[in-house]
Symmetry: C2
Subunit: 547 residues, 2 copies
């Protein structure tokens, strides 16, 4: 089989004007970026008419779960059975593209295109967020330098869209008084920026303004919060983010409309594409297929408890992606062996599937388990999973979208339409007015399957201050390893009896949540021994080696 990039480069794309017009968009509703991408600004009179399908997964493993591929396959499968299905996906970050994970535009015959552009600069949204974030940092530090404000503590960090461990902790402002004030500082990856969350959760430009106004940059000498509004920087940030707020339209390899917009990671941030993209997909499709990053404990939990609650969204069904490889990994098989048949280990790993099904049942919507098919899967292995789904009372489908595109996802598409025909209530993990501690504890108990939490000394101080500032009842956005239901990436399967160590509470008043970091999770990744960057090149004007 060809590589992802070879398949992508061989595909014939519909010109973006044609694609947009065929979807009924007026010229005023989109702006082309190149011949195959567009920024979209739909007529406000359009109504949301589609049904929302959330795609999530069982716990992660180093090789990735195929969730984006399944989402794209599902949309293509729905198209095959005569439904109009529009995708709403996150946009990739240059960090993983040049680091370990590679691109994030699907795989095989279930990709969004143009793959190279989407994986690299795309329409510049992440760059706009980086620029806005760092302009804010410069304006803040300049106000301090000019003696216009004195802060006891600074919350606002710089960001960069790169994996660079050297920038996690720095001292800035060295070299004497003309070069600023020596300050402990640091960078997160752009996907973890509060501005990324703000852009993804904002319901239009005025909400964007209100959220940016509310961002707390630090604490004044008198203990009060110093906000972006106090600094007076909101307008400049809006100017930088104005175009980035518009969802990006591209296409799947089989011609589905795809909105690829906003890119918070689900381990270190809230993990869903922009609300603007979700709403656009709901306006244009019978079905809007969206993905939340990593497992039901990460992206899906935040999708429901944060995004759906804030925006009044309600998924009609949930797809839970799993694979024999992922379950064998969680059954204890080492990475080089997971492609080999091993029914015993697979059975052992089913507990992880069980836990994710339990989580999704608690949320309410009907569930379809989708097996991301590999050619190494045996019939016996597939039957083991199918049977377990029957025992759990959830639908099951094999999805071979990677090798066969939409044709390989017809079974999944049919199961999803059936599931979506059975509307269910949506349940949240915690009450809106519960305390931060109760919220985190509820997620740990109900979603992770643990006993409770343990706070670091820093976390206790953070919590006290956040409560004092009046933000003690925000939702929580928990940063946690995706490789385990616990905070320990090595604890496979479905552990019980564990507690989750909480390192810090980080106020994101503009995003409207408190980030809770657990275990050893890092908000700025590092590069591996052999970065993916070293394989990438441009040959005869074409990008090669992008995986």
């Amino acid at each position: 089989m060809l590589s992802d990039i070879e398949i992508a480069q061989a595909a014939r794309l519909t010109p973006i004007d044609e694609l947009a017009h065929s979807a009924g968009l007026a010229d005023a509703e989109f702006e082309p970026y190149g011949r195959d991408k567009a920024k979209v600004d739909l007529d406000p009179a359009r109504k949301e008419r589609g049904r929302l399908i959330l795609v999530t997964a069982t716990s992660g493993m180093p090789a990735g779960s195929g969730k984006t591929t399944t989402s794209i396959a599902l949309a293509q499968g729905l198209k095959k059975i005569g439904k109009s299905a529009v995708l709403a996906l996150r946009e990739p970050s240059l960090g993983p593209v040049f680091g370990m994970k590679g691109g994030a535009a699907g795989g095989g015959y279930s990709q969004v295109l143009p793959m190279e552009a989407i994986n690299l600069h795309f329409t510049g949204d992440l760059h706009a967020i980086t620029a806005a974030n760092n302009l804010l940092a410069a304006l803040l530090d300049n106000a301090r330098h000019q003696g216009q404000v004195e802060l006891r503590e600074i919350f606002w960090r710089r960001v960069m869209d790169v994996n660079d461990r050297m920038l996690r902790n720095i001292v800035s402002g060295l070299g004497g008084p003309a070069n600023g004030i020596p300050t402990e500082a640091g960078f997160d990856i752009t996907a973890a920026s509060e501005l990324m969350a703000v852009l993804c959760l904002a319901d239009g430009m005025e909400d964007l303004r209100a959220r940016i106004d509310r961002i707390v940059l630090g604490i004044r000498k008198d203990g009060t919060a110093y906000t972006c509004k106090d600094l007076g920087a909101t307008g400049a940030l809006l100017a930088l983010l104005k175009d980035a707020m518009k969802p990006n339209l591209v296409q799947s390899i089989e011609g589905n409309l795809a909105f690829v917009h906003g890119g918070p990671f689900a381990n270190i941030a809230h993990g869903c594409n922009s609300l603007a993209a979700t709403r656009a997909a709901l306006k244009l499709g019978d079905f809007a297929v969206t993905e939340a990053g990593f497992g039901s404990d990460l992206g899906a939990e935040k999708f429901i408890d944060i995004k759906c609650r804030m925006a009044g969204l309600k998924p009609a069904a949930v797809v839970l992606v799993t694979s024999t490889k992922a379950l064998k990994w969680h059954g204890g098989v080492p990475l080089p062996e997971i492609g080999k048949p091993d029914v015993e280990a697979l059975r052992k790993g089913l507990c992880n599937l069980d836990a994710h099904v339990r989580n999704l049942k608690n949320f309410g919507p009907e569930i379809v388990v989708s097996l991301n098919h590999f050619h190494t899967d045996t019939d016996e292995e597939i039957d083991v999973i199918r049977n377990r789904c029957a025992e759990l009372g959830v639908r099951f489908a094999v999805c071979d979208g990677f090798a066969r595109g939409g044709e390989g996802a017809v079974e999944l598409a049919r199961a999803v339409t059936e599931a979506a025909d059975e509307p269910r209530e949506l349940h949240f993990t915690y009450d809106e007015d519960a305390s931060l501690l109760d919220k985190v504890t509820a997620v740990v108990r109900k979603v992770y399957g643990g006993e409770g939490i343990e706070l670091s000394e820093a976390a206790k101080k953070d919590l006290k201050r956040i409560v004092e500032l009046g933000f003690g009842n925000l939702p929580v956005c928990i940063a946690k390893t995706p490789f385990s239901l616990t905070a320990d990436g090595k604890a496979l399967g479905a552990p019980t009896g564990f507690t989750v160590p909480v390192q810090r509470f980080i106020l994101n008043a503009g995003a409207g949540f408190v980030v809770v970091t657990t275990g050893a999770v890092m908000r700025m990744p590092g590069l591996p021994k052999a970065p993916a960057a070293m394989q990438i090149d441009v040959v005869d004007g074409k990008i090669t080696g992008l995986a």
Copy 2:
């Protein structure tokens, strides 16, 4: 009169497809970015046919000289008299846009449009350079962290497109061994990045590859150079810079084609738009009007001694922009008074005009002095300048492009066509094979009018090492204040008898020159007490306050 942004927003733009087609571009030769910008990739079979007009200026002053405005006015004026004139200009940086200077897309009725987009993210070139620069830094530091290379000294700095003095000097890699190696580091503004120079000087993708390969990142323990090629990062950088290499097509307010591409500052970098843009303008216009930043001592010197020499370009004529305000400033009038008539001070400031005319005469091409007209100018003042030009034996024209667009530049356009009809030899300031010291000294003596140079201890060490590494004969790119012909921004007029203090020699082997920093010049600007950012906003979907 309306503000620049009001004029820009009231203008009716030709749709970019129509503009490109009317210029004879095939669909395969351009990609639209929005409705009013395009990336251009001209058929390699096209020949350069136009005459190159370089626009430079007398010494700077805090209020700006109107060089970009004059360049645009000139192109519009040439169009009025029936010539096809295409612009090649630098693209603005977010640093000055949100800092002190404001936008850089011309002014009044001589602007390039869409003004807001050009001044903000435009087509993302500066973001691409920032991303490539910082990926290279992360890959380099990762190779050190992984024990793949040991360096005695690191040359490569990070960059950001923002004015942020706090990032000039940092210590990175703090927080223990998992977070890198504690290292003295720092950021320059993106406009000063070697990659910006590399992109601007590269003659096509293969030259870009060769230049990036040659970048020296640091010195190994054994004293040898460690290059980007040694690290193996060139391919990834090419993937990030592939689209950024294509010049951006926009239009002047009167419909001239304008290539706005590449943005090195002329005080801290080499100060000219990309070679790709210059070549595109030469292919499409009878006249290609280009601008080099700041005075003849900065942008023009580097344009000729670096860019023209490397690329085999030859300007047919040079326009020297001046104004009563600039000359009065250099005659000693304080800023708030420079709008008031003062023939005495103006006469005193004429020495600055004399010096720049002398510089340009040394370079060879015919000269047209263009007076950037202000409504406060008196006839007597204008006559003083006109008479001095007659004495100097150079052409003179009043340009009122700001208030009257191309109509206000017809006199200038006629003078320029006459000048261009008198081809002259091009002379460089120094021989290609002279030593670095001789080259800097030649620029100081012949162009700045000084006696010589004085090296700091650090500069002496730098020089020794650069010579040892085998780069002792590269051209020099001198970083110097634009406000004076000397290295002291307060020394007005045309000082003599001064020496220039050299702080550092910085090897840019990929760009193909050695940066020489002088006086107190900073490669990362800071923000002023009242940053321009604080005036910028978005109102009813339109950007306001952008100057």
